[in-house]
Symmetry: C2
Subunit: 357 residues, 2 copies
DNA sequence: AAGACACGATGAAACGTTTCATTTTCGTCG
DNA sequence: CGACGAAAATGAAACGTTTCATCGTGTCTT
């Protein structure tokens, strides 16, 4: 049988199992021979407490193995140490790494992450937000938000909000973590161009977000800059699935003047393109160069390994938490922290120089 | 400008933005002209309240747009509507789908998920558990637990716990969701055998979990059953990464009698095997058949598409929540709910019949 | 008609913190 | 030596629920 002394000596084990109820600050106060308020002051590092009393309290805390009750603190202060993370879908291979960035940063600072998948459904998003607000989370990280800015304003009025991966630059009052999307697309196209390609197709994504439109715009801007002909048949719209990549390639290769290279708006479609081209008997990159976007882990696993544009997914998550905690510390959630994280080409095996004809 | 009526009529928008403080049950009681206790009874569906009063309360709730404060309820009842999910790493492509299964089931029942990655680090796991207990979560789903059963017992003494993907069958007091690992390995090997292969290698994982040992045991049992020679050089141990799959193939193909087929303990290593074999000039599956384990999404994206053993990842998550909520409803967390979910072969393109020599 | 009884409503107490208006203590100065 | 003020400690109130012992009302019995 474990006695109290042995039990309280082991700092690691899970205490107060069956039966025993946890000690409260009141117990600590009695044990230390001071008042409740003093215990609170010690635990929250208020300077107004005599070092001799501080010792007594800390000793009592250790002796009783006291752990402060976060629920009670939240009820009183109206702010928990939880962070709400709303993402489209953890099952989309883009998001686990971002989520991990959030988790690591949050955990290091003593915060916990509430995970919410909204499936890009505005109704689901609203429901989650209301629930998070009711739970008194200390802030919300909203990735690819669906709700209008007016509603973001409403939330920002009562708690810290960080927007992540919103397409457009936003007004100065919002905290936002963005990625240099336009630059990423441009660098990818430049990379193909430098390899000698001029007939470059672009497999864009759905028209459902500003960043998608931005990527398409970057493609046209690139063509104009290079004085390349704009052929609308070189632009294909897919739904971000690898199946749609396959369809794109079927259409593109049926043209009388098919492209010699293509860029896709995400890795999944790029891989679909490669697989379909290979199925049609073409060599990648020999007959068709392909460049993706996102730099998912699986780009190392397809054949050939996919050259792609890296998005700093982990850093996006970590930076969001940094902004959030900064809001809380300085108590100004409207200062409008902003960052645009860089993107860059990851050279692998799916792009080859255009052979001189 | 929005007036109060319009505002409270819109059930969807995010209310009580800046300034305004949320109404409490006391406000509802006053508005409805009943006592606080009656409001509580109505909100919790206690039968002892007159339907006429119930109406009055519900009307007041609507009028004030009252939302109950979960933090206060948790403080009083010592049980939140949050579920702690502890997994090794959301970045491992196995877990997002499981996590999604948890989230969907939890969300449907009105619960929220706290996401914790323990990196299979027992210290991190303990810290998370203590934090979740302190937060008064209503239960913990522990995937691939590192802590010993004695500690699981300690937690189970104070709250609902469901263990997921523990290798061995456990005593009757634990709630556990398992997968038919042994059967999956066996079915995969049988599949290769039926295709004519007898020289079958097995790329196992680390010795760090019971399920890993179980998979290796299933391989040997299979050989014995088929009266195939047991060659220890046909068993390679990797760390679940695709790089280790590559190394396995290099070793295996250097043997004087190389295998004609291999099974890997996860998809990542299987794909590494395929890629390395291809790099060495072999055709997959023509010269080497490969079968994986897990059925990750990316098995559709490699070339050839990987034949593999499906694990019902989403269902594992969903089932865990089902068990957890059942524990809460019946208030018996020690009844020992158990399930072993089925595994099955997913035929794709990486296995070919052995040509008659 | 009076007592017993069932059914609902009531509101104070409790959950474990933080906060803040008071009180106590103690050193300093006139 | 007494008074003053700063520093520190105190403990009641509050946060928003749930719970439960108590009370009021109306019905039924005899």
């Amino acid at each position: 049988m474990r006695n109290a002394a042995a039990s309280s000596a082991n700092d690691d084990s899970i205490e107060n199992a069956a039966g025993g109820t946890s000690p409260t600050m009141k117990d600590v106060a009695r044990e230390a021979g001071v008042s409740l308020g003093t215990v609170s002051n010690v635990l929250n590092n208020k300077s107004t407490v005599l070092s001799q009393n501080k010792e007594k309290v800390l000793a009592a805390v250790r002796r009783l193995n006291f752990r402060s009750n976060p629920v009670a603190r939240t009820l009183k202060t109206k702010s928990s140490r939880d962070i709400g993370l709303i993402i489209p879908n953890i099952n989309n291979p883009f998001y686990p790494e971002l989520a991990r960035g959030v988790e690591d940063a949050a955990n290091k600072a003593g915060y916990t992450v509430l995970l919410c998948n909204d499936d890009r459904d505005i109704k689901k998003e609203r429901t989650y937000i209301k629930s998070l607000v009711a739970k008194n989370v200390c802030g919300i990280i909203l990735v690819k938000p669906q709700i209008p800015l007016s509603e973001v304003d409403a939330i920002a009025g009562i708690m810290a909000v960080v927007l992540v991966d919103v397409g457009a630059p936003l007004g100065s009052a919002y905290n936002v973590v963005n990625v240099d999307d336009r630059g990423g697309i441009t660098r990818g196209l430049e990379y193909l161009y430098r390899s000698g390609h001029t007939r470059i197709a672009f497999v864009r994504g759905l028209d459902d977000s500003l960043s998608s439109q931005d990527r398409a715009a970057a493609y046209f801007a690139f063509l104009r800059r290079k004085k390349l002909p704009v052929r609308k048949e070189y632009m294909f719209q897919g739904n971000y699935s690898w199946q749609d990549g396959g369809e794109a390639v079927r259409k593109l290769l049926a043209l009388t003047q098919p492209p010699t290279a293509l860029m896709a708006a995400n890795d999944l479609m790029a891989i679909g393109c490669m697989k379909e081209a290979q199925k049609m008997g073409l060599r990648v990159p020999g007959d068709l160069s392909v460049i993706g976007y996102d730099n998912l882990d699986l780009t190392n696993l397809c054949t050939p390994r996919l050259t792609t544009i890296n998005q700093p997914k982990y850093e996006m998550g970590a930076k969001s938490v940094e902004f959030l905690l900064d809001c809380l510390k300085n108590n100004d959630c409207r200062e409008g922290r902003k960052v645009v994280l860089p993107t860059d080409v990851v050279e692998r095996e799916s792009v080859a120089p255009l052979p001189i004809p």
